[in-house]
C-alpha cells in the first residue's frame, strides 16, 4: 500500500460533514442502481446469446428498466459530485438537494414497480402510442411509469434551479456567470480584480440551463402522455411526441457527461499538481456546448422523411460542432495537464484518465452514426447502444469511480497497491473493450437494436458481449472491494 502525496484538502463552505454526507448519498444511490442495472444488462445479452431464456416479454421489460435507470443512475451520482464541488465555492442548502434526491428516488421506485410488477415494456423511449397499446402490461403499469418519470423530472428540476441560482448569485447574474467580460473586455476584466467562474461553475451553469430546458421538454411531452393515459380521447401527434421524447433523452444523456466532467476538472489537477486555469477559450467552449448539444438533437430526426430537411443539416453540422469544445478544449487541456508531469497513477487517476479515452471513443462512434450517409446503414442497429454504452460505461462511470477513489485516497492518505490497479484495470477496461466491441461489430453487421431475438450473427456476437460484460462486472467487484478496504482505513489527520 502506497502513501499518496498530499494535495491541499478541498475547502467546503457550511458544514463539511453535511456536504460530504449528501454527496455520498447521491453517489451511493447512483452506483447501487448502476450495479443492479448492470446485472439486468448482462441478463439481456445472455438472452440474446441464447445462453438463458426468459422470453421476449421479460426481455422488453428488462430493457425498459435498464435503459431508464442506467441513465438516471449515472445522472444522480454525477449530480451529487457537481453539487459537492459547488460547495467548495459557497453554501447550498442541503435540504433542497435532499428534496431533489427524494423526488428522483420515489420516481425511480415507481418505474421499478411499473416494470417489475406491471411488466411495462415500452422501452425508455415510451414512443406514443406504444405505452398504451402493449399487450403484455396493464394500464396501471403505464401510469406508474409515466408518473415515475414525472417525479424524476421534478426532482431534477429542483436540483437545476438550486444550482442555477447558486451560480447566478455567486458570479453576479448571467453576465458574470457566462464570463462575458472575460471574453469581450479582457483588460477591463483583469483590472476589475474579479475572478472568472470556476470550471465546475461553468459546467453547472450549462448543465442547469440545459437541464431546465430538458425538464420543460420532458414536461411538455410527459403531461400530455399522462393526460392521454387518464383520458384516452385526448390524442397526440405521434411525430411531435417522438421529437420531444428524443430531445429529452438526448439532452439527459449528454448532461450526465457534462456533470461528471467536473470531477475531471478538479480531480486531474490534484493528481498532476498543476493548476487548470479558466481562460476565454474555456468559456467559449462552454457557450458552444450549451448551443451545440441542443442542436445536435436533430440527428434523431434523420429517418423521419416528413421532417423539414433543414433539421437534418442542422443535426449533422451540430453533431460535428459539438465534438470541438470537448476534444479541442477539455481533452487537450487534460493531456497538457498530464504531459511531462509526475502523474500519480492511483486507482483514482487511472479511472479519471481512462474515462477521457472512453468519452472520445464513444463520441467518435456517435459522430459516425450522426453522419447521414452512415446513418442510413447504422440507424437502429446495435451501433447506437455501442456508442452510448461507450461514453456512459467508459466515460461517465469512470469519472464517477475515479472521483470516489480520489476522495477515499485523500481521506486515508493511502492508495491501492499495483497488483490491485492491474487487476481492476485489466478486468474493467478489458471486459468493457470486449463488451463494447461486440456492440460495434454487431452494429456494423446491421444487427438490429431493441430485439429480444436477433438475426445472425447477433447471437454469436452476443456470446462475446456476455463474456466481456461478466469480466467487466468482475473488475467492478474488485474495484468495490478495494474501495471498501480504503474506506475501512483510519482517516488521515488533516484530509478533507
Amino acid at each position: 500500500m502506497e502513501a499518496v502525496a498530499k494535495a491541499d484538502p478541498l475547502t467546503l463552505h457550511g458544514s463539511p460533514r453535511a456536504a460530504r454526507r449528501l454527496m455520498w448519498v447521491y453517489v451511493d444511490t447512483g452506483l447501487a442502481i448502476f450495479a443492479a442495472m448492470a446485472l439486468a444488462g448482462l441478463a439481456m445479452r445472455a438472452e440474446q446469446a441464447r445462453a438463458i431464456a426468459f422470453g421476449p416479454d421479460v426481455f422488453y421489460a428488462l430493457m425498459t428498466l435498464h435503459g431508464t435507470l442506467m441513465i438516471l443512475a449515472v445522472a444522480v451520482a454525477a449530480m451529487g459530485i457537481l453539487w459537492y464541488l459547488l460547495r467548495t465555492e459557497g453554501v447550498l442548502d442541503e435540504r433542497v438537494a435532499y428534496c431533489a434526491h427524494s423526488l428522483m428516488s420515489v420516481g425511480m421506485l415507481a418505474v421499478v414497480v411499473s416494470v417489475a410488477v406491471g411488466r411495462f415494456g415500452a422501452s425508455w423511449t415510451y414512443l406514443y402510442p406504444l405505452p398504451f397499446v402493449g399487450l403484455s402490461w396493464s394500464s396501471w403499469a403505464t401510469g406508474s411509469y409515466l408518473i415515475g418519470l414525472a417525479l424524476v423530472t421534478l426532482g431534477f428540476s429542483v436540483w437545476c434551479v438550486q444550482v442555477l441560482g447558486f451560480v447566478l448569485s455567486k458570479y453576479g447574474g448571467f453576465r458574470g456567470a457566462f464570463a462575458w467580460d472575460l471574453v469581450f473586455r479582457p483588460k477591463a476584466f483583469a483590472a476589475s480584480g474579479k475572478e472568472p467562474p470556476s470550471l465546475p461553475a461553468l459546467a453547472a451553469l450549462v448543465v442547469s440551463l440545459s437541464g431546465l430546458a430538458t425538464r420543460a421538454d420532458g414536461m411538455a411531452i410527459g403531461v400530455p402522455l399522462i393526460v392521454h393515459w387518464i383520458d384516452p380521447r385526448v390524442a397526440l401527434d405521434p411525430l411531435w411526441a417522438k421529437n420531444l421524447t428524443y430531445f429529452f433523452g438526448h439532452e439527459l444523456a449528454n448532461l450526465t457527461m457534462y456533470m461528471a466532467v467536473a470531477a475531471v476538472f478538479i480531480g486531474l489537477p490534484r493528481y498532476t499538481q498543476k493548476d487548470l486555469h479558466v481562460s476565454a477559450m474555456w468559456v467559449i467552449a462552454w457557450w458552444a456546448t450549451l448551443i451545440y448539444v441542443a442542436l445536435a438533437a436533430f440527428h434523431h430526426f434523420y429517418m423521419d422523411f416528413v421532417e423539414l430537411l433543414v433539421f437534418q443539416y442542422i443535426g449533422q453540422a451540430a453533431s460535428y460542432a459539438e465534438a470541438v469544445p470537448v476534444t479541442v478544449v477539455t481533452i487537450f487541456s487534460a493531456l497538457v495537464l498530464v504531459y511531462r508531469t509526475r502523474m500519480r497513477w492511483t486507482m483514482g487517476s487511472l479511472f479519471i484518465y481512462a474515462g477521457l479515452i472512453g468519452w472520445v471513443v464513444g463520441g467518435i462512434g456517435a459522430l459516425l452514426d450522426a453522419t447521414i450517409s452512415n446513418n442510413r446503414f447504422l440507424h437502429n442497429t446495435l451501433w447506437v447502444p455501442a456508442h452510448f454504452h461507450t461514453y456512459l460505461l467508459q466515460g461517465v462511470l469512470l469519472f464517477i469511480i475515479g472521483w470516489v477513489f480520489l476522495m477515499l485516497e485523500e481521506r486515508s492518505g493511502r492508495s491501492s497497491p499495483p497488483i490491485v490497479r492491474w487487476l481492476a484495470g485489466l478486468s474493467v477496461f478489458g471486459g468493457a473493450a470486449l463488451f463494447l466491441l461486440s456492440f460495434f461489430v454487431a452494429g456494423a453487421y446491421g444487427v438490429p437494436r431493441r430485439e429480444a431475438v436477433q438475426p445472425m450473427p447477433g447471437p454469436d456476437i452476443a456470446v462475446w458481449a456476455s463474456v466481456g460484460a461478466a469480466l467487466l462486472l468482475l473488475g467492478l467487484l474488485v474495484t468495490l472491494i478495494e474501495a471498501i478496504r480504503l474506506l475501512a482505513l483510519p482517516q488521515d489527520g488533516d484530509s478533507a
Partner: protein, 168 residues
C-alpha cells in the same frame, strides 16, 4: 428600471393580460380549434410571466441568500399549467364563458408565479423558467389533442382495453 417604474409597468401589464384573459366571459360561447386555444393560452402565460418579472424587479432583493421556499412554486407551477391545458375539457369550457374566463386567469396566474417565484429565489432564474414555460405552452399547439388521423393515433384510441383492437 427604477422600482416605481417596474411596479407601475407590472400593474399595467397585469391589468392588460387579465383583461384579455376574461374576454371569453364577455364575448360568450365560442368554437375555437384546439391549436388556437393552446396558442391563446401561451400568450396569456407570456403576459403573466412578464407581469411576474416586472413585479419581482420591484420587490425582490438584489442581494442576499436564496430563499429556498421559492423553488417549489417555480417548479410546480409550469407542470400545473400544462395539466390545465387538458384538450378534452376545451369544448365544455367553450360553452361556459365564465369557466372559460377563470381557466384563462389560471394561465395568467401560473405564468406569473413561475416567473415571479423564480426571480424571488435568485434574480435571473425567473427569466429562464418563465421563458421555458412559454415554450412548453406554444409547443402544445403542435400536438396536444391535435393529432392527425394516422394509424398510430387510431390505435391509441383503444386504450385502456387494447385487446379490443388487437385480439390475442
Amino acid at each position: 428600471m427604477k422600482t416605481s417604474t417596474s411596479r407601475i409597468a407590472s400593474y399595467v401589464t397585469g391589468a392588460l393580460t387579465v383583461a384579455v384573459a376574461v374576454l371569453p366571459a364577455a364575448l360568450g360561447p365560442a368554437d375555437v380549434p384546439v391549436p388556437q386555444h393552446h396558442i391563446g393560452h401561451a400568450v396569456l402565460i407570456v403576459g403573466g410571466a412578464i407581469t411576474g418579472l416586472l413585479a419581482a424587479s420591484a420587490t425582490a432583493p438584489r442581494i442576499g441568500p436564496p430563499a429556498a421556499a421559492w423553488i417549489a412554486p417555480t417548479v410546480i407551477a409550469p407542470m400545473l399549467a400544462m395539466y390545465f391545458m387538458w384538450p378534452s375539457a376545451l369544448d365544455y369550457l367553450d360553452a361556459h364563458p365564465l369557466l372559460h374566463g377563470l381557466e384563462h386567469l389560471s394561465y395568467v396566474f401560473f405564468g406569473f408565479i413561475t416567473a415571479y417565484a423564480g426571480q424571488r429565489y435568485v434574480r435571473g432564474v425567473g427569466w429562464v423558467t418563465g421563458t421555458l414555460l412559454a415554450c412548453m405552452a406554444f409547443s402544445a399547439a403542435g400536438f396536444f389533442g391535435v393529432a392527425p388521423r394516422s394509424p398510430g393515433a387510431a390505435q391509441s384510441q383503444c386504450h385502456p382495453s387494447p385487446t379490443d383492437c388487437f385480439p390475442r
